[in-house]
């Protein structure tokens, strides 16, 4: 009888499986299930990654929405002397009593909204008494997110040809001829806003110290259409 036939007879006649076979089956099962478990672990990490990403994106959107639609044009200011990478928020000075009442309301609004949107962790939204476009957020799960907004005034001298209505000479409609100087002594009617949000995927780590930190930008141009 050949070897194969002998083996077949042995297999047919046996009443149990050997320990070696059980071990081999177990090893095969482990090899198959290992990537599945790995994937599940990765999924849990991904959930946390998505959580911090969502919070970061929501704050970026909140900052941009508030600056584009809620904070008055005149209160978004640029520190032209220090040339810092963030703007500040302050109502302009006035001698008009009626306007002062309105500005006081705006001041109260700014004091409430700025820490909310930029994040109040470690009072990073303040520089002395000044409210600045900078902040630090700590999420419920302990991740840290940094926020910052920079503003540039477009056409400070009011001499650029920015108003382009078809058939009209743009030279006649420069900002200088259409508006008076603002509180910062320039003619700008458009402000460029850049919002940056930076977050680390490691709990408790400052994104500025994490080389693998994630970041995103939003850009908007706010025009002075408030009157």
């Amino acid at each position: 009888m050949c070897y194969a036939k002998v083996m077949m007879v042995k297999i047919k006649n046996r009443k149990a499986i050997t320990f070696t076979e059980i071990m081999m089956a177990t090893v095969m099962l482990v090899v198959l299930l290992l990537p599945v478990f790995n994937f599940l672990t990765k999924s849990m990490k991904d959930t946390e990654k998505i959580h911090v990403e969502c919070v970061a994106l929501t704050h970026a959107r909140q900052i941009m929405d508030t600056m584009m639609y809620q904070i008055p044009f005149r209160d978004i200011r640029v520190d032209q002397v220090s040339n810092k990478n963030y703007c500040y928020f302050e109502t302009p000075p006035t001698s008009d009593t009626k306007l002062q009442e309105q500005l006081n309301r705006e001041k109260t609004f700014l004091n409430t909204i700025i820490p909310e949107i930029f994040g109040k962790e470690n009072d990073q939204y303040k520089e002395g008494n000044k409210l600045i476009g900078n902040g630090l957020i700590k999420t419920d799960k302990g991740f840290l997110i940094r926020t910052r907004a920079k503003v540039e005034e477009i056409d400070r001298n009011g001499e650029e040809k920015l108003l382009l209505i078809k058939g009209m000479k743009p030279d006649d409609f420069i900002f200088k001829n259409l508006t008076s100087r603002n509180a910062d002594n320039n003619y700008s009617l458009v402000k460029k806003i850049v919002v940056q949000v930076k977050w680390s995927l490691i709990k408790g780590k400052d994104p500025n110290e994490d080389k693998k930190a994630k970041t995103m930008f939003l850009v908007g141009f706010k025009s002075d259409i408030e009157g």
Binding site: A60, L163, L164, F217
Partner: protein
């Protein structure tokens, strides 16, 4: 009668392996979808704010020059092109379409990495049409109604762009005060 079970093992093993493969594929697919979705959300947000910027900028034209704008449409109300040159790429300080408009390592958290006049990404917006609708002149203040449609896009690199759907808005402007 005894059934012939020869070869059944291979079928069972194949079915099991196939099942596992499908589960793994579905998991990997859903994970990569999430990453792509986040990126898409960011591009959508970036393009959307450019479109909103375009609407504000177009309104600035009309609020500053309400009478001039009305005069443009006075004789031919079917025109829609008064702001056809209102394109970000044509505007000094606002254009962010070309390579020299952006800074690749733009970072607000590091000194000197956010130079004035530069942008962190490329994009563009333009007014597609500005329609004059009608005037309310039976009131104390004469008011003009306009309808605007704008488009914006973000450059994703490698010749790809993310475009917004048209963003449209109706608004009313006082012909004499511009507000």
């Amino acid at each position: 009668m005894k059934k012939n079970k020869k070869g059944l093992a291979i079928v069972v093993v194949m079915a099991f392996a196939f099942g596992i493969a499908i589960i793994m594929f579905a998991m990997v697919q859903s994970s990569s979808n999430l990453t792509a979705q986040t990126k898409r959300t960011i591009y959508q947000m970036q393009a959307s704010y450019l479109a909103q910027s375009c609407i504000q900028f177009a309104k600035l034209h009309i609020f500053l020059l309400p009478k001039e704008m009305y005069n443009y449409y006075k004789d031919d109300r079917s025109k829609t092109d008064s702001l056809e040159n209102c394109q970000s790429s044509l505007l000094p300080g606002i254009g962010m379409k070309n390579d020299n408009d952006i800074s690749k390592d733009y970072d607000l958290f590091e000194n000197d990495k956010a130079p004035e006049g530069k942008f962190p990404f490329k994009g563009e917006f333009h007014v597609d049409e500005l329609k004059y609708l009608l005037s309310n002149d039976n009131m104390k203040m004469v008011q003009d109604n306009y309808h605007i449609r704008v488009f914006a896009e973000v450059d994703l690199g490698k010749g790809k762009t993310f475009k917004t759907d048209p963003v449209e808005e109706d608004f009313i402007v006082s012909r004499f005060s511009g507000r």
